[in-house]
Amino acid sequence: MSLTLTLILFLIMDPLGNVSSYLKMVSGLDPKKQHYIVIREMLIALAAMIIFNYLGEFIFSQLQITPVTVRVASGVILFLIALKILFPSPTSLRANLPKEEPFIVPLAIPLIAGPSLLATIMLYAHTEPSQMTMLTSILIAWAAAVIVLLFSEQLQHTLGSNGLMACERLMGMILVLLGIQRFLEGIALFIPLYCHQT
């Protein structure tokens, strides 16, 4: 498994940021039912991730995309995702959630496995040489997210909503950093390519 990849996937899933919206949705249901919902929704999200993992591999090999493109593109995408976490807008999906039991929408997709996560998985699936690494990274990140959501009540209790927000912002910062690093790596790959040709 690749640690960075796992971390990136975990950060994009943003389970800590989803804790409060999840709790809002399932408030009133009994704890057993809540755990059942988490596991069901997360399994659906996992299925989506794995499907897109293979889909990405297929699509990008058809399009013959170079590693440079993947790096720059994933850097930009990570950066934009992180900005959304750092500066949340009041019109975002999370701000106006339906207050009912979630089924697939919105918890599994798009809160956990959103378009940004799926796009990132597709991009990384193309660059990662071994499928095994990719799948274990997805699994580990997913398991961590499941644990966070299962213990969401306790987390909310100990950290408070401000503490949770602080953690989320911190993760956003890390994601911004990773995005910029990826982008720079892409540029660093791109420049020698260009110099050789001219």
């Binding site: 960075t4 950066f79 602080a166 912002r169 956003g172 890390i174 950093l177 910029i180």
Partner: protein, 200 residues
């Protein structure tokens, strides 16, 4: 007495890099929509967040960057870009009449605690001094010492509002946005310069 000198020197360096006096008008402009008491609370909270970031970076900074495979210039560039976005928002405020005003989000963690106070400059300096100094207690002491100053300035900042008034603050926001843009571009250029150097 001999150990006292470096501690104060380190503390002064940290204090100057954090630049609370220069930053407090900016921070004040960012929190101008909240009442006086709330402003003080925000200031204190952000100050503590910044302190925690500084301490974390003293002990784990190098380790974190290595774990994430992130270079120091990315850190600088990142801080610059985030500050630039904040500065743009200050210069061109979002005056959409359709949006209800109370929706304005309280600044939380970003951008005050980081990257304004505990910015990439401070993180780098702390990491460098922590790497060269054997005695980590000394650096922690210096950080804490610097932070008593920083927090004092931060708490004093809301009183500036009484002098400037509401209109003064609106004007201040734009001016500070301009200055913040300069700081941000400086950071971006520094990061980009360091990056270009690694290429050749």
């Amino acid at each position: 007495m001999e150990t006292l000198q470096p501690i104060s020197q380190l503390a002064i360096t940290y204090f100057l890099v954090t630049n609370p006096i220069g930053n407090s008008p900016t921070i004040l402009a960012l929190v101008k929509d909240f009442d006086f008491k709330r402003q003080k609370q925000i200031m204190l909270r952000e100050g503590f967040f910044a302190l925690i970031i500084a301490l974390v970076f003293q002990f784990f900074g190098e380790y974190i960057l290595k774990l994430l495979h992130v270079d120091v210039f990315s850190l600088t560039l990142c801080g610059g870009i985030l500050l630039f976005l904040v500065a743009l928002g200050m210069i061109f405020p979002d005056n959409d009449p359709k949006k209800p005003h109370e929706f304005k989000q309280e600044p939380f963690f970003v951008p005050i605690a980081t990257p304004l106070l505990s910015g990439p400059g401070l993180m780098t300096i702390i990491m460098l001094t922590a790497a060269s100094e054997q005695n980590s207690i000394k650096i922690t002491g210096a950080i804490l010492l610097a932070w008593t100053g920083v927090l004092a300035v931060m708490i004093a900042a809301p009183y500036l509002q009484r002098i400037l008034g509401r209109r003064g603050l609106v004007a201040l926001e734009q001016v500070m946005g301009l200055i913040l843009t300069l700081i941000a571009i400086e950071m971006i250029l520094k990061g980009a310069g360091a990056f270009v150097k690694t290429l050749s």
